[in-house]
Structures are given as C-alpha cells and as structure tokens.
Symmetry: C2
C-alpha cells in the first residue's frame, strides 16, 4: 500500500523570500539522498485563490516502510529543524493510503 | 502548466463515519462528471502520526483552465455545500504549479 504524505504550511509573518528559496533548495536535495522517496512535489501556493496557506510538500512513497524511512531520515529531520520550523507558524498534515499509482497526467 | 490542488480538513467534533462515507461516495462521482479532472485522490488520514488533520483531497489538473473548471463545476460546488461545509471545522488549501507529470510509482 502506497503512502502519500501531504504537509501544508503557513509561514510566520516576516518570512523572507530567501528563506523560501533556501527551503526549496533543501527539499530539492532530498530525493538524491533518500532512496525511499518517490514522486516529490513542493512549492509556494500559486496565488489563484484567497485564503490559501503558503506552501505545500507532497511525498509519494511506495510503502509505509518507505514513508517512515523518509520521515525519519537524518537529512529530512535536519531540514525540518533548520529550515522548516523557524519559518512555520502553522502546519497541517495528512497521510493518505492508496493502492494505485498516479497515472501520467500529460 | 499543470495544477495540483490540495485541500486538508479537520472535521467538526461529532462527525459520524456515515458522513465521511457519504463524502467519499460524492467525491468518487466527480471524475465521471468533470472531464477536466485528472488524477484524483482523497481519503481519511492513515493514523500514522499524531496531530494530523482528518481528511485530504488532491486533484491533479493538466492546466489552470482545467483546475478552474473543476473548482467551479456545479457538481463540485454542490458537494462542497452539501457534504463538505457541514462537517468541516478547519480547511487548509494550496495549489501547486508543476510542469511535470507524476511518474508511475509502482
């Protein structure tokens, strides 16, 4: 059973664009160091709708074991500690279980 | 540019399993009536981590126009009005833009 991990964030007031860029750079490194990470998408809200939160991370893992390996990986934990927590005012997360792979969209 | 719409919910206290099932049944009908909807995933939190929210919906659309067609479709709006709003205490949403299709995971 595959796991889709979803985390949404609201940033603290005064968060600088440089911090958001540093976060994206940190996230971009994770697939290279965490083999258990499948499709990995993240980024700022697109600005289409009012009232949205600021940032999303979606990690697809092929199994619960793979998700836990991602969650608990030292590089991921270091990124949470150093880059995410200082800029996050609110966090909402859900893990979805799904037996199906996402189809190609395009 | 593809759009991934993500919405997380916390349910009001006293939400019944029957309401959550009715929501899932309503969501399951949408891909059949909204052609612009691509990969569509939704469900309750898997219960792996403490402090998580209750439910997630992730809709992949191939373009901004397709996302807006989904967002504003009368069947989707009716589902929000009749099934989502009565049971939702908190909602967090982000739309991610992505040029890449999700690869097959499994």
């Amino acid at each position: 059973m595959a796991i889709r991990h979803i985390a949404l964030f609201r940033f603290v007031e005064g968060t600088e664009p440089e911090q958001v860029e540093a976060l994206a750079e940190g996230l971009a490194r994770l697939p290279g160091v965490i083999d258990e990470l499948g499709d990995y998408r993240y980024g700022p809200d697109a600005g289409i709708n009012d009232g949205n939160w600021d940032y999303a991370i979606v990690a697809d893992c092929a199994s619960l074991a793979d998700y836990l390996a991602y969650r608990d990986h030292p590089e991921h934990q270091a990124l949470l500690r150093n880059l995410v927590r200082p800029m996050v005012a609110e966090r909402a997360a859900v893990q979805l279980t799904t037996g199906q792979a996402p189809p190609d969209l395009e």
